[in-house]
Amino acid sequence: MAESPRRETISEVIDALDLAPNSTYAAAFDKVGKLFDRYLGQPTTVVCAPLVGYSGITAVLSDDTAVVVVADSPSWYHRLHILCHEFAHVLLGHTPVELDAEDVVSHVAPHLTPGMVQILAGRSACEGDEDTERDAEQLADDLVTAITEHRQKTRRNNAPVPCGLTRLVDSFERPRGASA
């Protein structure tokens, strides 16, 4: 993805997330999970579960719903990154990676049953498709970085300015050339 549309996409996603000030990464994880419905066009369930050999899997079920399984990492920051990687595949419109259904079930059961799944993207399942994985990983990096920056920005600007100090704060915190 070229730099300009990439920036636009990230900006659009950040707006769509509508993160509350002081949002945790767990809250951001929930919000990104909810975006799958809109961008994938199907009701999507996001679950954290132990995975073997994969850190994230997106699957379309036979009843036209989807499931995203994220490895149960001990860090929400990392879980968010994995989820953003899965979401990046959707944003980039990547062609699904075909995996054997039985193999998938053994990884993510009991969430999926044999014959129900079509794998869209499996993080770490990138043999022979390094460019696709790298693109998704870099977009995931950008998304997590943008979420972190948004968190920091809203944290800084969220505290209400005491009555009577708004003008003063504006004077010092406006961009250069606009300060008094």
């Binding site: 945790t24 990464y25 767990a26 954290c48 132990p50 995975l51 073997v52 850190s55 490895a71 149960d72 990492s73 001990p74 860090s75 929400w76 920051y77 990392h78 879980r79 990154h81 770490s124 990138c126 790298r134 990983e137 870099q138 990096d141 997590v144 970085t145 972190t148 944290r155 800084r156 505290a159 209400p160 300015v161 005491p162 009577g164 100090l165 003008r167 003063l168 704060v169 004077s171 010092f172 915190e173 250069r176 050339g177 606009a178 300060s179 008094a180």
Partner: protein, 418 residues
């Protein structure tokens, strides 16, 4: 010698004030000349520049020669100093309050300080005939204050105006600084604190002068030289003023520079462990195409967490227990203890993975224990693990457990190889 010192102290700070003025004039031009607070600030810096220049004895003589008026520098310099006090107070009020509320006070300030300046000039004129015979380049006020009531009145008017203006400015800036700091706006709070320090120097100067005047009226002349030197204190206000003017734009840049230095240090703390990961688990690594250190740190944390996940099937709780015992014996507690246990488990798991030896302890994550802190906390935790990874405690813990499992490992490996 004395005059040289006076000249040096006043003239050395004049370029600082002039630089501040040029800096703010640039803002004034960009803003389209329509911001009253910026006008007031520029006026106060201009007043400080001119009073600083004209206070130098060398310039006193020059002004005398140019105008033909003995002691012309006295009303000239004191008028600019008074204007400085009034305009800085107006600046602060225009910053702090809505325009309607601020202008009510600013109108009184304009009236009050204009009246003071007119009064100073009138009192100087009233004293002129009796003071012109003996030119005093540095101590006109102190020298004539005890013998000329008009000079005493001149001094009292000046001291009162300066004390009111500078005290109010210091109070307004300091209280605003405290209120802004409570909202987490660190650089704005620091800027205001420096703006609160600026008026303390001219305030100290006039208070010293006032004390000297009191002692002179009481008949003591020992402090007179200090009174003459007091205005030199006020010129030091240019230093905090320069800092206060630069902080809003340069402060955040300095903070970003400091953050980058901290991030590079953190990245180098993670490098030894990252090298281990990239050798043993190359699929998680993306090339460091971007030089931004914050991006590198983000990638490092992702790779380390990916590695930890990949090693989960090889996790051996015996290693953790052994490392905990050894670490406790070594006096480690808290985060250092946790890092040592994690490092030992990772090291043993990497060894098991290399020998294709799953331990089978698939322990799901405790959802209540999942970390959700800032990236900086995550990086710090991994930096502790990286430090512990090559420690003697970890090596001993891993070696002791591997010794116990050496037979099956060796046998399994031998079978596979055979």
């Amino acid at each position: 010698m004395k005059l040289t010192l006076f000249n040096a102290s006043y003239l050395a700070t004049a370029p600082v004030w002039a630089a501040i003025l040029a800096f703010k004039m640039r803002d004034l031009r960009r803003k389209g000349w329509t911001t009253p607070a910026l006008w007031a600030l520029c006026l106060s810096v201009l007043a400080a520049t001119l009073s600083s220049i004209s206070a130098a004895p060398a310039n006193n003589t020059l002004l005398h020669q140019l105008t033909g008026i003995v002691h012309f520098a006295v009303p000239w310099c004191y008028s600019w100093a008074t204007l400085y006090a009034g305009s800085t107070l107006a600046t602060v009020l225009l910053w702090r309050y809505p325009p309607a509320r601020a202008w009510r006070s600013v109108r009184w300030i304009i009236l009050g300080y204009s009246t003071t300046i007119v009064t100073l000039i009138a009192l100087f004129v009233a004293s002129y005939d009796t003071t012109r015979a003996d030119e005093r380049l540095t101590d006109w006020d102190i020298h004539y204050a005890t013998t000329h009531p008009t000079v005493s009145a001149f001094m009292l008017a000046y001291i009162t105006a300066m004390t009111v203006g500078t005290t109010a400015q210091a109070y307004q800036c300091w209280s605003a600084s405290r209120a802004v700091r409570a909202t987490g706006r660190v650089w704005t709070a620091r800027t205001l604190r420096w703006f609160a320090i600026v008026p303390l120097w001219p305030l100290a100067s006039v208070l010293v002068k006032f004390v000297v005047l009191i002692t002179l009226w009481c008949g003591t002349t020992h402090l007179a030289p200090i009174g003459a030197a007091a205005p030199a204190i006020s010129v030091l206000g240019s230093i905090p003023m320069a800092i206060a003017i630069l902080l809003p734009s340069w402060g955040p840049r300095l903070a970003r520079l400091r953050d980058s230095i901290v991030a590079w240090r953190r990245y180098h703390q993670l490098r030894p462990l990252l090298n281990v990961v990239r050798q043993t688990h190359p699929t998680s690594a993306l090339p460091d195409r971007r030089q931004d250190v914050h991006r590198r740190l983000h990638r490092a944390v992702v790779e380390l967490n990916d590695w930890q996940l990949a090693l989960a099937p090889h996790r051996d709780s015996r290693v953790g227990r052994r490392a905990e015992r050894l670490a406790c014996e070594a006096g480690l507690t808290g985060a250092a203890l946790t890092a040592t246990i994690t490092a030992a488990q990772l090291k043993a798991a990497a060894h098991y993975q290399h020998h294709d030896h799953p331990v089978g302890e698939d322990i799901p994550a405790d959802e209540d224990q999942v970390r959700d802190g800032d990236p900086a906390e995550e990086q710090a935790a991994w930096a502790r693990v990286a430090r512990a990874y090559h420690s003697r405690i970890v090596d001993r813990a891993v070696a002791s457990v591997l010794t116990e499992t050496a037979a099956p490992l060796t046998a399994g490996h031998g079978d596979a190889a055979g």
